[in-house]
């Protein structure tokens, strides 16, 4: 700033109310005003400090905040219950015969199952369902290792390879429980898709 402007400010250390002063000292030509702190800034700062005391008091001193562990366990339990209920609900209307004659013949359901197959199952069971990679069992060899009823297939997809099974030989590979990521409806549609590709095997149900 120019000398003329400099002279309009009082030089010194302690500002009086409403006054802007220019500090005496200069560093390599740099000067400093000494202005009051903006009120909105101060209130932001004070507000955060007050919030700190309040929140810590509520959380730690009074112990009013539920622990993360309690909260999450309750929430996930609720989801699990809902899942079990949904599964029971689906299963109550689902019989071997319904799967074969209603689901596997309903084009929209088979299509939904196919879509999931192409996205997820295909990685191990292959595009032609014959598991060329040997990562999983073939789905078109007329062998149903874990039970050949339609509902067995449903349960296998939902629960994954049964714990008592040793899985694939010799790798020990096991299928994940897809009930974790898919709803019972979706599992049923995957089952329907598999049945639709193996009509002969399930014609007796």
């Amino acid at each position: 700033m120019n000398e003329e402007e400099k002279d309009t400010y009082r030089r010194g250390e302690f500002a009086r109310k409403g006054e802007v002063i220019l500090r005496e000292h200069e560093y390599d030509g740099i000067q400093e005003f000494d202005q009051k702190l903006p009120n909105w800034w101060l209130f932001t700062f004070y507000g955060a400090i007050v919030f700190f005391f309040g929140m810590w008091f509520v959380y730690y001193t009074l112990g009013l905040v539920q622990s993360d562990q309690e909260r999450i366990t309750k929430a996930v339990s609720a989801v699990n219950e809902k899942k079990s209920a949904a599964l029971a609900d689906t299963l109550s209307n689902l019989t071997d015969s319904v799967l074969v004659h209603e689901w596997a013949t309903d084009e929209s359901k088979v299509k939904a199952g196919e879509a999931i197959y192409l996205q997820v199952c295909i990685a191990c069971h292959g595009p032609n369902m014959d598991a060329p990679t040997k990562l999983a069992l073939s789905l078109v060899d007329q062998e149903w290792k874990y039970g050949n009823a339609p509902l067995d297939i449903f349960k296998l997809i939902n629960n994954g390879t049964p714990p008592e099974s040793k899985g694939m030989e010799p790798s020990g590979a096991r299928m994940m429980p897809f009930g974790q990521s898919f709803s019972p409806e979706e599992i049923a549609s995957i089952t329907a898709f598999i049945i639709s590709k193996n009509k002969e095997d399930f014609k007796d149900y």
């Binding site: 220019l22 955060a48 959380y59 001193t61 999450i72 898919f182």
Partner: protein, 824 residues
């Protein structure tokens, strides 16, 4: 007043640092650009070399440039090479002028400059070959860490020696920030890099699991604070008023925001670990201090922007002011976003997504990069005694950068929020998740590409800068500026005794208040009320004292500024408190109690080796190992039917270093592993079997269509280092991991057996394109020797733990070894 004398500044050092900063900056940004393209096109991990060399190099992926190894190189290059050199340039330039004396030792300046460049070259040579500690922004291996400490000490000696020789009684605010930088970075870097070497290039940190996480993010967050923020604030305080030719807006704001910033910043580290297994009190403390940090940060922004009052007209003509004004604005934006992201509820959405990447880049590109450019354009004409070669090019640089940053940050916000929302979306029935992980990754491909374009624009901007500065240098002449000044006699400066200043009433009162508040953190209800009253009373007392004796307090601070040693001591005290209160309880409290009922199973020697490969490949750059206490996390990554399947503290207790991660470009791997297969000692099958992993490492897209993970063909060529395991396990035992006593031979034997057993499971169906000759037993023997079996052993072990009664302690260190799970 002493005699008048002529002083010539050492301007060679700032000049060298400036050139180094621009050079490394461009390299670091290019690496960033390549890394960002790897997220869109997996071929960028090496496959592209096939096209550009017309098939001469035939590879699905080149280990040296995979994302996991490049990303640490990028972060280290831009933080330590680009901003580091820039900060040294500004500090050497301004400190001499603010102290009216030449830097104390040209030799030390020389050693500092070349030592630092040597470390950077060391990083460039080690990180791409997979030598890494895996602690973010502290990946450098231990010999380089030692070099960093030595060079930093050289810098500190040179700096404080210059302060001692100063011809200016009082320290300007820029110097305060430089002092805070030097002291705090030394403290952080040393503590976070405490480690025990197992070889010349490998070590284990002395902290593991929770402790390591806490120390790492205390460091990581404050590297941002004291490497990317405080030195740049100091630079702002020098160069901005110079360039604008206006007085600094408010001296008292400088004082308040300096002390509150350095005191509060250090507490905010735990906000990098919100909703994880980190104890809740630390999470809440981290969040609340982050919120309190908002105002001190904005204090710096205000002091910068309001200094421009009366100089805004220069915005039209002077590119320096343009860069500074925009840089400070980005600082304000990033320091508002930071506290916002630290709110636990917001963090649920933002953490592990690209929002964090966007946030850090609005700071790095917006604040650091623009401030650097402004400073370079201001310094270059003065260092080469000429005019800037082209103002138009500098303006072009500004606009290209600005568009680049906005594109970058906007794209990352979009990507982060979109992916966060998709990952948390529950399907209609409320029982499952709507999207597979890979679907969320595919959904953000467009923002990823836009981000790359933003980064490219920014890089172009800096290339314009390099040309502009280069041309300026070419037409000018290297000049060392000299001034006439009065010399201060030793008796005229630093006159107060240390004791009288650090035990001044202002300090003692503040100390008592902070001690009471710290005590209050940990007291139960009955005492808390009493303490609160005491805090209130002391608080009021301090207020009254300040009201009546304000002038003496102000005098005290002015005195403090004239005595650099007590000032430095008080800064050290202010920055040490937060870390001590947060970290010490977690280190001294018996770790064995703090496991939340689950105790991690020990890694077998082969699994440990696999883990070291995981660390070395930088898998943590994309994969977390932390199921947060959030419903979508537990639903996605937890086991079916287990309601409390979030990650418990004890599950990573033996992880040196911890691998909780900070970003998920791929899914979480905390429960990737599983139970041992019946009838086998060593083979585990987790979510996916060994053959799946084999095919996945060879071609991730075959197993997971749409994945952008690089292929790892060298896992099937590089030999597992069985020989190093004995030393590694002995160091792990030193660290308190209860390994049974085993001879070196037994350890190697055990690892080889396990590798053989794993190879056995895949030999029948394994096929390696590069080795069509291998099949049957030859294939098995080959696989048992290569890294694949080690990394698979580790992956299949992830998440293995034993249930513990809360009161039952885990196995003590037992030299006779009685761990049945472990017996060969």
């Amino acid at each position: 007043m002493g005699e008048k004398s002529r002083i010539t500044f050492d301007d060679r050092t700032p000049r060298n640092f400036m050139i180094a900063s621009i050079f490394w900056g461009i390299i670091g940004m290019m690496i960033g650009l390549l890394a960002s393209s790897q997220l869109s096109w997996w071929q960028a991990n090496g496959k592209f070399l096939e096209f550009v060399t017309f098939g001469k190099i035939n590879t699905d992926g080149l280990d040296l440039i995979t994302f996991g190894r490049l990303r640490p190189l990028h972060t280290n290059a831009v933080i330590f090479a680009f901003v580091g050199n820039m900060m040294f340039s500004g500090i050497y330039y301004s400190t001499q002028r603010l102290c009216k004396c030449r830097t104390a030792s040209s030799l030390l300046s020389f050693l500092h400059f070349w030592g630092w460049q040597g470390i950077i070259v060391g990083a460039v040579l080690t990180l791409p070959i997979g030598l890494s500690q895996s602690k973010e922004y502290a990946e450098l291996i231990w010999p380089l860490d030692i070099a960093v400490v030595i060079v930093w000490v050289i810098f500190a000696i040179n700096f404080f020696w210059t302060l001692a020789r100063r011809n200016e009684k009082s320290l300007y605010v820029a110097i305060w920030f430089y002092i805070a930088t030097i002291i705090t970075i030394a403290m952080l870097y040393i503590v976070n890099n405490l480690q025990i070497p197992t070889s010349l290039t490998h070590s284990y940190p002395i902290f593991g699991g929770l402790q390591d996480a806490l120390v790492q993010w205390w460091y990581g967050h404050n590297a941002v604070a004291f490497f990317l923020t405080t030195p740049i604030l100091g630079i702002m305080y020098y160069f901005l008023p110079k360039a604008a030719n206006r007085p600094v807006y408010s001296y008292r704001l400088s004082i308040i925001h300096f002390w509150s910033l350095v005191f509060i910043y250090i507490w905010a580290g735990p906000h990098h670990l919100l909703n994880t297994a980190l104890p809740q009190w630390l999470q809440i403390l981290g969040m609340l201090f982050s919120l309190m940090l908002w105002a001190p940060s904005w204090g710096g922004m205000l002091n910068g922007l309001l200094t421009l009052r009366g100089a805004w007209n220069k915005l039209r003509t002077d590119p320096v002011i343009k860069f500074f004004a925009a840089g400070i604005t980005f600082y304000g934006m990033a320091t508002f976003e930071g506290p916002l992201l630290s709110i636990r509820a917001v963090n649920q959405l933002s953490h592990y997504t690209d929002w964090g990447i966007g946030h850090v880049h609005s700071g790095a590109l917006g604040w650091n990069g623009l401030m650097a450019a402004g400073m370079f354009y201001w310094m270059a004409p003065r260092l080469w005694a000429t005019k800037l070669w082209s103002v138009a090019w500098a303006n072009m640089h500004f606009w290209v950068s600005l568009v680049g940053i906005l594109l970058y940050v906007g794209a990352m916000w979009t990507a982060g929020i979109m992916q966060g929302l998709m990952l948390g979306q529950v399907n209609e029935s409320g029982t499952g998740l709507t999207y597979e992980f890979v679907e969320t990754l595919q959904a953000i491909q467009l923002p990823y590409i836009l981000r790359g374009i933003g980064g490219l624009l920014y890089l172009i901007g800096f290339i314009l800068c390099a040309i502009n500065i280069g041309m300026t240098a070419a037409k000018g002449k290297m000049t060392d500026v000299s001034i006439e000044t009065y010399l201060l006699k030793p008796t005229e400066k630093d006159t107060e005794s240390i004791r009288s200043l650090i035990f001044h009433r202002a300090v003692v009162y503040t100390g008592i208040l902070i001690a009471l508040i710290a005590l209050w953190f940990f007291t139960p209800f009955s005492m808390a009320a009493t303490l609160l009253v005491a805090i209130g009373m002391v608080g009021i007392l301090v207020l009254f004292e300040f009201k009546w004796n304000g002038k003496s307090w102000a005098k005290f601070h002015d005195n403090l500024l004239e005595n650099y040693i007590p000032f430095t001591i008080l800064v050290l005290v202010a920055v040490a408190i937060g870390g001590m209160i947060q970290i010490i309880p977690s280190v001294v409290v018996n770790r064995h109690v703090n496991i939340e009922g689950r105790l991690q199973e020990l890694y077998t020697p082969l699994e440990l080796e696999g883990r070291d490969i995981y660390v070395s490949e930088g898998c943590y750059n994309c994969h977390s190992q932390m199921i947060r206490t959030l419903v979508p996390d537990v639903m996605r990554y937890g086991r079916p039917g287990v309601a409390d399947d979030y990650s418990h503290l004890g599950e990573s207790i033996y992880d040196f270093p911890f691998q909780w991660g900070s970003k998920r470009t791929g899914p979480d791997l905390a429960r990737e592993g599983g139970e041992p297969v019946d009838d086998t000692k060593h083979v585990r099958i987790g979510k996916r079997d060994n053959l799946w992993h084999m095919k996945h490492f060879l071609n991730p897209r075959e197993m997971s269509p749409g994945s952008n993970m690089p292929a790892y063909p060298w896992f099937f060529e590089k030999k597992t280092d069985f020989k190093s395991l004995a030393k590694k396990i002995s160091v792990q035992r030193q660290l308190g991991v209860p390994y049974p006593a085993m001879t070196a031979h037994e350890i190697e034997q055990h690892a080889r057996e396990q590798a053989m057993a794993i190879a056995q499971t895949v030999m029948k169906d394994a096929y390696l394109e590069d080795r069509p000759d291998l099949s049957g037993e030859a294939m098995r023997n080959h696989l048992s020797e290569v890294q694949f079996t080690a990394i698979v052993a580790y992956l299949q072990k992830l998440g293995a733990y034993t249930e513990q009664n809360p009161d039952k302690r885990p196995h003590p260190l037992d030299p006779d070894g009685n761990l049945s799970k472990f017996e060969p």
